[in-house]
Symmetry: C2
Subunit: 203 residues, 2 copies
């Protein structure tokens, strides 16, 4: 079983489905998951791609409907948040610090849970403080550390690493050099990591 990296942007809607699903699926597959936040907007800007692909009204309405249907299919709690798109820069910096220090997963899980089930918006002071407190961290200390130059640099490096791998959306899952994009490819990624999804043809 190869290691799987879960690349995510805190502001991504469909990422909530993966945050809610990945733990049980990884356990069922015997997979080890590394949680890695990055800044999707930086990659999209770099590549000249549309930011907020669901800003177009018809596609936007579709996305929200699809999201609630997918949540229902998977039995995931869902409440449409008031704010979209949230400002995720500070949360991503804290997540990056957390990834280095080993508490990214529980922190991120709580950030998303608050946003997607209690409408405590990602990026707000309330969301950050409650999520930090829930994982036993001091909000003041962490918020200070997250604004340090070294943390900012870590997030830039993580984003560069994601981009170098060919990541252009969230959630993405990488296994070695293989990229899988979208919550609906999580099972493919896990199967690939277990050596069970190997197309005959090459790239």
């Amino acid at each position: 079983m190869q290691r799987l990296t879960f690349w995510f942007e805190y502001g991504s809607t469909y990422t909530w489905l993966s945050v809610a699903r990945i733990d049980a699926l990884a356990q069922a597959h015997g997979a080890q998951i590394e949680w890695r936040p990055f800044l999707l907007s930086a990659i999209l800007k770099q590549r000249g791609m549309v930011e907020g692909p669901f800003a177009e009204p018809v596609k936007g309405r579709y996305m929200w409907r699809d999201l609630e249907r997918r949540a229902a299919r998977h039995g995931i709690a869902y409440r449409k948040p008031t704010v979209y798109l949230p400002n995720t820069l500070l949360t991503a910096r804290i997540g990056t610090l957390a990834a280095v220090q080993g508490w990214c997963e529980p922190f991120t899980r709580e950030v998303f849970r608050l946003h997607w089930t209690e409408d405590v918006g990602i990026g707000t002071d309330d969301n950050l403080r409650r999520a930090l407190t829930a994982v036993g961290k001091s909000p003041e200390q962490v918020l200070q550390a997250a604004q340090s130059e070294s943390t900012k640099q870590l997030l830039r490096a993580a984003t560069d690493e994601a981009e170098a791998l060919g990541v252009f959306g969230s959630p993405s899952f990488t296994v070695g050099e293989e990229v899988f994009w979208g919550d609906d490819r999580l099972e493919d990624a896990l199967d690939f990591a277990a050596g069970r999804l190997l197309p005959a043809t090459g790239r």
Copy 2:
């Protein structure tokens, strides 16, 4: 069981997966499928959306790799075609005529099969003549009828109908006013048609 409409653009890559899968899945679900071609480019232009969403190099490479992985997962024959994007206007006109006359499904199946397993490109004279002959039609007669003003108008009307339903990509599946986009939502659409995917919240 509600009726499901399968809206498709002949030039769409992922649509090959649905063309290859839908028959067996519909039978398993006891679903009736209506095959309806439309012109995706007309809708994208109208909405100011990107044509050829996979023209961006990194996203394009990803799409081809994902496509072959999905084909492998579903046991679908796959050979990367030489030409992308094909010119699908004439094929769509014939498909529209076929939809009215009741032979759209076998014709479309053969058009896609030739393109995706034998590299006989969609939109080429060879593809059209072979597909028409395979379903027992006279290529000369059909090609003439497909260029008539009434057939052109039928295709425009089908595209307008798809757009009015909120379709913005291919494949799409509609059940009443409910839209599902992408081959990876085909099972959702069939479940919805059978009354098995009903989120608690409204739109």
